[in-house]
């Protein structure tokens, strides 16, 4: 018997677990009622200076990271660790136990035992049983004892570790969360179409710049709508540029971020840039194309193609909500033309020397959230372990069956006693016993009958 240590008892008790569950649940409510992460003035205004000061002292404005809440989580983890360390040796002992050394007298007297009679002599009956068990999916052993043969068969011993997998998974998740909070960060950045950045800005009060170690360029931002005017998608075409070369290109949208070098870039917002437009020009005859950032009433030049163009007039949206732009265009062959285009609607332009497509759109800056979280994988692994563990705990059990065969003094046959034990799901065990019983009964040579 181990010396009982008061402190150890405290940390291994399930009562403490129940206390921490309730304490965590109750205190968590506070942060859902009192808005979090607001400036001090907000609390003064809404709760008065006295409460605001108390809140500040107890770190209520960021309660989920407050010392007392974190202490509860630490207590919870210690409880979990101690409790598991205390109980796992027991599980190992149960699994290692010599189940063939049971007290046969007690075994015979167990309630719910099933008793059968066989006409076969002991040795043959035992051999027959061995054959039956070998094909049944149960792992079993047998031993000659007290003039008879005792069989032991079991299934699902490993499922006793299910609970500890669940408990361990919580610790794995915590470890992931800690890794993320130490080595990860959250930041954001706005990138105007056609420009790139090599740094992002931390989500703290001073918006500390964080260097990326590469450049991220926004090639294009797109905003699409459903027919009823609801926004359908926010899309950015991004390029990762390392040492002057594009190494990765991806179209991101909400729920589909870009991942590169341990960082993840999420589409989160956008902003139209006042009085600036993007014009896509393509010479479909030669295949050459280029994007231009254009301000109204400024003449632009596409030197390689000897094209000059500009926006000369703008009109309010048509019925589909698209702005209209009047474009002036000259390519030195034939006289210059001007024509109306709708925003985001490419137009074909037939010229004497070539065919062009022209598209005009508002210039945007895309707003990206940036996250670095090396702890996500431990968290996901923990979550997977938890679900697997819960499924094992709830749907599987460790079932043990003893079959005691002893000679019957009269008639030369033998008597068979079937006894079972399960750590949960007794019904399932009874079904297993039914199955084994009918297996025995259906075997002619055993000629077993209820007895």
């Amino acid at each position: 018997m181990k010396e009982k240590n008061v402190l150890w008892e405290f940390f291994t008790s399930v009562k403490l677990a129940i206390f921490t569950f309730l304490a965590l649940a109750a205190t968590s409510i506070i942060g859902t009622i009192i808005p979090q992460n607001e400036p001090f003035g907000f609390y003064v205004e809404n709760f008065g200076p006295r409460w605001a000061t108390i809140f500040k002292y107890l770190n209520v404005p960021d309660m989920y990271h407050a010392w007392w809440f974190v202490s509860l989580l630490v207590l919870f983890s210690l409880n979990l660790i101690a409790c598991s360390l205390d109980r796992i040796p027991n599980v190992v002992r149960i699994l290692r136990k010599d189940n063939l050394a049971v007290d046969i007298e007690r075994l015979e007297k167990r309630g719910k035992n099933r008793r059968l009679l066989s006409a076969l002599p002991l040795e043959q009956a035992a051999d027959k049983l061995r054959g039956l068990l070998a094909g049944s999916g149960w792992s079993f052993a047998s031993r000659e004892r007290d003039g008879g043969v005792l069989f032991f068969a079991e299934k699902g011993g490993w499922t006793r570790f299910g609970v500890y997998t669940v408990h361990g998974s919580i610790l794995v998740i915590f470890i992931g969360a800690i890794i993320g909070s130490i080595w990860g960060y959250k930041a954001s950045v706005m990138i105007a179409e056609g420009t790139s950045t090599d740094q992002v800005y931390a989500r703290d009060e001073r918006h500390t710049p964080i260097p990326l170690g590469f450049r991220l360029r926004c090639d294009r931002f797109l905003l699409t709508y459903y027919a009823n005017g609801m926004p359908k998608d926010y899309i950015s075409d991004l390029s990762v540029i390392k040492d002057g070369k594009v190494v990765l290109q991806k179209r991101i949208e909400v729920n589909d971020p870009l991942q590169y070098a341990g960082l993840t870039f999420y589409q989160s917002s956008y902003q139209p840039i006042d009085n600036q437009y993007v014009i896509y020009l393509k010479n479909t005859t030669s295949g050459a194309f280029q994007n231009f950032i254009v301000m109204p009433l400024r003449q632009m030049r596409w030197e390689e193609e000897n094209v000059a163009f500009g926006i000369v007039e703008r009109r309010n949206p048509n019925m589909l909500g698209q702005y209209q732009h009047k474009i002036w265009f000259s390519d030195g062959k034939g006289s210059p033309v001007s024509f109306w285009v709708s925003e985001n609607q490419p137009v074909r332009l037939e010229r004497p020397g070539a065919t062009y497509t022209v598209e005009v759109k508002q210039r945007f800056a895309t707003g990206l959230q940036v996250a670095k979280d090396p702890g996500v994988w431990p968290v996901y692994i923990g979550c997977t372990l938890m679900l697997l563990g819960l499924a094992v705990v709830f749907f599987m059990s460790h079932r043990r069956i003893w079959i005691w065969v002893r000679p019957e003094p009269q008639g030369g046959g033998c008597r068979i006693v079937l006894s079972g034990n399960a750590n949960k799901n007794r019904d399932g065990l009874e079904k297993d016993l039914d199955k084994i019983e009918s297996l025995l009964n259906s075997s002619n040579e055993l000629q077993v009958q209820g007895g």
């Binding site: 409510i29 729920n255 999420y266 996901y380 679900l387 819960l390």
Partner: protein, 291 residues
């Protein structure tokens, strides 16, 4: 048949089933019970057809998505999961008395969704943040869990009523006279009811865990944070802790069936608050209630 006709019919079918199960409970009417089962089964089938139709209709409208995207659709799934779980329990335990405690939830959920003024019932397109398969997994898992907890709560109430009656009777030194049994005496024994509560909680706990996890994965894929302590997330965690108490209480001496039954009731209040109250009284990222 359109989905709204089918789902509208479901509301009345569940009302009828509730009524039939009440007849079983109050007048011990056996034939009403058989009819109740049949009507509930028809309700589940009609509702399943309605859900599938709604799914198909959204594709016909060119904005196809699973019908799990707003408050109304979640109420429908909630009700569907309750009715289905109840049928499973009825088959396993071969007892119809419990129907009067489960079907009212299935009916109330549909009725609230169908008639409340603040609920939008149209099929609407998904805003960008909701366009994710994780959303589907998240809502589906959460509502299976919530439904199991609703069943546990209904049966928990039953346990408490029966338990009180038996204790009063014992205190008065009376016995049950054959032929004069009350409704509660005809229910399965307390131990069996306790077992059903436990199994429902266990089942719900597994799905709620999956719901919280799929929600975290979705949040991480949408904005890079798997957990941000927003009120809805936090309340789901509170609910999770409450049911964790129920799971562990069995290993603590002196926590018998009555306390577990109370946890089933309080836990469900927490579920309702997570599901519904948060949207109306607290602010946060989840937009179900307001949309």
């Amino acid at each position: 048949m359109t989905s709204s006709q089918l789902l509208g019919a479901t509301t009345f079918i569940y009302l009828l089933a509730t009524f039939l199960y009440l007849l079983v409970l109050i007048f011990k009417a056996r034939r009403a019970g058989i009819l109740g089962t049949a009507v509930t089964l028809i309700g589940v089938l009609v509702q399943t057809a309605g859900i599938i139709m709604r799914w198909v209709e959204s594709y016909q409208m060119g904005i196809g998505h699973a019908p799990l995207s707003n408050m109304y659709e979640s109420l429908v799934i909630f009700s569907w999961a309750i009715a289905l779980s109840y049928l499973v329990i009825e088959v396993i335990y071969k007892n119809r008395m419990l129907g009067a405690f489960a079907l009212p939830f299935a009916f109330a959920s549909m009725a609230y969704g169908s008639f409340a003024g603040e609920i939008h019932r149209e099929i609407s397109p998904l805003v960008p943040a909701l366009q994710s398969n994780w959303l589907l997994a998240h809502v589906f898992t959460c509502f299976i869990g919530y439904a199991a907890f609703a069943v546990a709560c209904g049966i928990g109430v039953l346990y408490l009523l029966k338990d009180r009656k038996e204790r009063n009777r014992k205190a008065a030194g009376r016995r049950v006279v054959e032929g004069e049994e009350g409704v509660l005496d005809l229910l399965p024994p307390l131990k069996t009811i306790d077992e059903i509560i436990h199994k429902s909680i266990v089942f719900g706990f597994l799905w709620l865990s999956a719901g919280i996890i799929t929600g975290a994965v979705w949040a991480n894929s949408a904005w890079g944070t798997y957990w941000s302590w927003d009120p809805k997330e936090t309340w789901s965690l509170i609910t999770w802790f409450v049911y964790a108490v129920a799971l562990h209480a069995r290993f603590t001496k002196g926590w018998g069936g009555r306390r577990i039954a109370w946890i089933a009731v309080f836990g469900f209040l927490s579920v309702l608050f997570t599901y519904y109250g948060v949207n109306f009284w607290l602010s946060g990222l989840h937009s179900y209630g307001s949309s």
